[in-house]
Symmetry: C2
Subunit: 456 residues, 2 copies
Amino acid sequence: MGSLVEELAGALGAGQVSTEEELLARYAVDQAPVLDFQLPEAVVFAGSVTDVQAVVRLCAAHNVAVVARGAGTGVSGGAHASRNCVVLSLERMNRILDLNPDDETAVVEPGVVNAALNEAAAEHGLMYAPDPASFRSSTIGGNVATNAGGLRCAKYGVTRDSVLALDVVLADGSLIHTGHQTFKGVAGYDLTGLFVGSEGTLGIVVAATVRLKYLPRDVHTIAAFYPDFRQAAAGVLAVGRARVQPAIMELLDGGTLAQLDDLHGSDLSSRGRSLLLIQTDGFGAAAEADVVRSVLAAGGATVSTESTAEAEQLVELRRNSRGVEVDDEYRVGEDVAVPRSRLVDYVAALEDLAATHGVSLKVVAHAGDGNLHPTFWIDRQDSAVDADAMGRLNLALDASINAALEMGGTITGEHGIGQYKLRWLGLEQAEPVRELQRRIKELFDPAGILNPGKAI
Amino acid sequence: MGSLVEELAGALGAGQVSTEEELLARYAVDQAPVLDFQLPEAVVFAGSVTDVQAVVRLCAAHNVAVVARGAGTGVSGGAHASRNCVVLSLERMNRILDLNPDDETAVVEPGVVNAALNEAAAEHGLMYAPDPASFRSSTIGGNVATNAGGLRCAKYGVTRDSVLALDVVLADGSLIHTGHQTFKGVAGYDLTGLFVGSEGTLGIVVAATVRLKYLPRDVHTIAAFYPDFRQAAAGVLAVGRARVQPAIMELLDGGTLAQLDDLHGSDLSSRGRSLLLIQTDGFGAAAEADVVRSVLAAGGATVSTESTAEAEQLVELRRNSRGVEVDDEYRVGEDVAVPRSRLVDYVAALEDLAATHGVSLKVVAHAGDGNLHPTFWIDRQDSAVDADAMGRLNLALDASINAALEMGGTITGEHGIGQYKLRWLGLEQAEPVRELQRRIKELFDPAGILNPGKAI
């Protein structure tokens, strides 16, 4: 391994290769639970496509795994270091190479932060639509690797829907270009789609051509408070039945409201036991908001039209509701999605599961997509008198996964399988489908050096 | 072969297998130009998934190619029979298996006609968005096989964007299920996306779960006539700069208008040399139409707000502008796409090419997508005195393809490579990318029995 590190430093420049203990530890994991902590042998900071090619070639020659990484904000362990690996950080490849306001496209290096692209696009009345909660720090490369979702997917689509073309370094160090610079294009197989969401296991994305959408002229935010969670979930269906497509439709349960109040001094809990937060946008935003308000009021909600500042604040609180976890809790959380018609049933199942297993529950959901992030938790203080707290949390978690699958759902709506969710993948996908994916992996990466043990 | 036909008839029932000459000829080709006419050995009409599995297994055992086919409305030869093949028609598998208005999804057999699904969805205020010109006769299976586009893709996406899950019969006759029933889902590699657009070369789609969108409440149609084609193309960019997203944005040149007038007795040509036909829809349709009208008028258009009947008729004429080709012409046509900023340049290049090669030109374009269907043509009467007419047409055609590629475009925006466009694929995709696709094909279909010689 010493020899590989020396060769890497020789190929790239000493400032781009580190074996410093503190740095190795920081780059050993992303934000997911850690099942099998491994320190990488080295962290390499690529500055160019040529750097990435050199790293992959050297690692291939030494048969050493390469774990590519953006900002490390993933929550499924897709960027966790594997044994004896080299972590390849793409953070420094952070240039917007092109942004053409007439084409409504941009070409970016993988380390460009989502928010930075959005800022650049906004100058031209455009936006990059996928907006994961981590958008202020996560990179386009990481978003592509996980096919990231976000708040406004129901209307604007997920990462896949915004990616037109990719430059990818393959396992042998060669560089290919997939896709098309145009909005439409159907020449050959959809290799671009195959790389999106493949978590760096098939190749390393070194540039992406993305489609931009129009920044909406008008935005209306509606806060609907409900006396209970199931009624709030029913509100999502009611808006759907009115055939209105909001840009954002977020569901927050009582546990989440209480926690936000604790952390931010807000008074959300006093207004209801559950919040359905809806934004309509575009030329029809006001008319759509009118329909939404009347539909929700008819369903038992206390509907308030927020002033602009309050509305912004509520959406901001929601965007920040990931990352508010506090150190005095044990918790497990997930990312299931269910068909929309099952939202109320699933929310009811979650509440029943929490009661059955004697754990607390909080849920936020991208409800327009049927994508829920339930968290089961327990105070660390309680757990001191209850040795089996983690056991009960995990039972509730597993049961919540099974309930989603029984309702026709998926174990991951937007976070990816990574390393953490591999244990459930066999519950969702039949063996022949998994085997097909293993064979695709083998075709792209016969030596298995690209992010081994992830995604499939 | 006699033995295979007997075995097929035995496995499926005599009424499902035909070797009748007239039928073989009808099922030998789709609507593309024919380069290499082959009669199939038999045409098989599958009625169920089990039928499809039986056909694939028997053909595999006899090492005979299977060409799957929907309505045969493709224009790239993706469904042309290959030598000694069995044509597998999926027309009879035409049931809508499920349509859940709360989930906003439908599960359909491959032979369901696009318009039939839309009719069923409309009862619930929903629509299936992809709307190829052939929507009244083409099937969802065929649309999936070619990743079909249509008029409203710029706003609502192409077929890929509406497909959530697939049931697929593989080359060994086994059945797999890919994707998810939910709007979002990122478990494993995107096999669904790999099958969409693969033209029956990787597997045979026997069911699709599709997402439905909301039928717009309000629709406004704007007809903008221009004195020349380049100005009309510039209008597309002007609407984009106003950051308005129409549902439909179709560009028709003078040649197309004249032909429509000839065929339908309309007076379009008297109103201008080019037509930009725009529909806005949804709650903001009226406000968007106002912006569009003022932007286009400022760009030199004569803008009329059509009455509803006239508007419907114009869109109808446009939808029918494919299929108006007449027998007294020689013609070649294409399906390129260019980045939007190059629309005006590309339209100018087409006009120059037509002049250079002494051929007539007509163009319709899904202009919002930069997707153009130019046709070069010449009267049969002229060609009688000009032996090289077809030669000149083909020179113009090849030059138009090259011009699109030089502008960063693609050789096929929505029709697919099929058999007809294979000759140009090497101009667009580098050899390593083509080789990767060949290896994927080999992985899925090692014996090469699924629609050989197509797509890649």
